[in-house]
């Protein structure tokens, strides 16, 4: 039995040794594994943050590229549209011009035809009426009219017909 209050040298030394052994044991079995694990976790978190940052940068680059592409596409589209509009306008103008030319040609031709037909009709009429007139005149005056008078009469008649027609 030792004293209740007192310092026993051997116990004193043993307890100092025990304290340092305990410090080593705690360091070895608690702090070392836990700190290693915490450090690993911290490194992983850092790596993940870095990864996220690179991914974000990539996404931003892609977004910028996409926007650039969109802008270019819009430009192209508006170019194409304006070109198409111009072409269409030119085409419509040329078509209209051609159409009006054609219409004018058709009309000219028609007019020439009509004139020709009229001339022809006049000539036919002239011959016919001349014959008829000769007959009638011959019957009416019952005398032979000289060739000269005859032609003069016809011309007079035709002239009158032409003016009335």
């Amino acid at each position: 039995m030792q004293d209740l209050v007192g310092i026993v040298p051997w116990t004193f030394i043993a307890q100092i040794c025990n304290l340092f052994i305990q410090a080593y044991l705690i360091k070895r079995f608690l702090f070392k594994p836990v700190n290693e694990m915490l450090e690993k976790r911290r490194q992983r978190a850092d790596a993940e943050i870095r990864e996220a940052e690179t991914a974000k940068e990539e996404a931003n680059a892609i977004k910028a590229e996409y926007e650039q592409n969109m802008l270019e596409a819009k430009d192209k589209a508006s170019n194409i549209l304006s070109t198409a509009q111009k072409t269409a306008q030119l085409q419509s103008e040329s078509i209209l011009k051609e159409a009006s030319q054609q219409a004018a040609a058709i009309r000219e031709k028609a007019e020439a035809d009509i004139e020709q037909e009229r001339q022809k009709a006049v000539n036919e009429l002239k011959d016919e009426i001349g014959g008829i007139a000769m007959e009638i005149a011959g019957k009416v005056i019952e005398r032979e009219i000289s060739e000269k008078d005859h032609e003069k009469l016809i011309d007079e008649f035709i002239q009158n017909v032409g003016e009335t027609s």
């Binding site: 039995m1 030792q2 004293d3 209740l4 209050v5 007192g6 310092i7 026993v8 040298p9 051997w10 116990t11 004193f12 030394i13 043993a14 307890q15 100092i16 025990n18 304290l19 340092f20 052994i21 305990q22 410090a23 080593y24 044991l25 705690i26 360091k27 079995f29 608690l30 702090f31 594994p33 836990v34 700190n35 694990m37 915490l38 690993k40 976790r41 992983r44």
Partner: protein, 254 residues
């Protein structure tokens, strides 16, 4: 009845006289210290079994909490450069707490032996002194004793020596007082229950008066203060003082 409060029992004595140290005695203090160390170390091993980086178990959360608390306590009070002292302070605190509380399972606290606290206090004192010499140099350390005036030198030496003595005695006194008061309470309650039950007539009273019924439950309430509160408090105070003294010793140079 007789009530005996004694020092640590001796289990084994080596019959060789070593000068100054005497015979080696394997005392209760040392044996229970080993039990305490085994308990702490096994708990550490159990707590840190299969640590994971994510999806952690409650066990690992406790281990991380303990490590973080120790880190914050030491680094918060002493600064980053004393990181190497974390295991020492943690060992001091856990050994102290477990030693104080092991009396709850009927073993004699190693801290109820002044040799234990004296050993710890001397270690802390050596650390404080070496830290002072490290920051101020030997000359600065010695010169520090003559401040503010040379007449104060004996008092400064006294106050320097008082540091480990007061640390050791404060801790020891609190734990020993708990042991003494617990023993007194158990004895007193045994006497009280035997007197109370002895009033019962005949053989029944004689049998029941031999059983200290009042010893069941009542001391547990008082143990909340004398063992739990006092035990944890003294461990904390001892560590706090250690940390503070060493940090102060490091700051004196600035």
């Amino acid at each position: 009845m007789d009530l005996e409060i004694s020092g640590a029992r001796v289990f084994l004595e080596v019959p060789i006289d070593v000068p100054f140290l005497g015979r080696f005695q394997l005392s209760e203090t040392i044996v229970v210290s080993w039990i305490v160390m085994a308990l702490i170390t096994l708990t550490c091993i159990w707590l840190t079994r299969d640590l994971k980086e994510e999806n952690i178990s409650k066990r690992q959360a406790v281990a991380e909490l303990l490590v973080e608390t120790a880190n914050n306590f030491v680094i918060g009070n002493m600064g980053e450069k004393f990181r190497y002292l974390i295991p020492f302070v943690a060992a001091l605190f856990t050994t102290s707490v477990v030693s104080n509380l092991i009396s709850l399972i009927g073993l004699r606290s190693p801290t109820a032996d002044l040799s234990t606290e004296a050993g710890w206090a001397v270690v802390v004192f050596i650390m404080i002194t070496s830290q002072k010499i490290k920051t101020n140099g030997v000359g600065g350390y010695l010169k520090d004793f003559t401040t503010p005036i040379p007449v104060m030198t004996p008092f400064n030496i006294l106050s320097e020596l008082a540091t480990p003595i007061s640390m050791a005695c404060r801790h020891f006194g609190n734990i020993l007082s708990g042991v003494v008061i617990n023993a007194l309470i158990y004895g007193a309650l045994a006497v009280a229950s035997s007197a109370l039950l002895g009033l019962l007539p005949g053989a029944l009273g004689k049998v029941l008066s031999q059983i200290p019924i009042l010893d069941v439950g009542v001391p547990a309430v008082l143990s909340v203060y004398f063992d739990w509160f006092s035990g944890v408090m003294q461990a904390f105070i001892f560590c706090m003082l250690t940390v503070m003294y060493i940090a102060n010793a490091a700051e004196e140079s600035s």
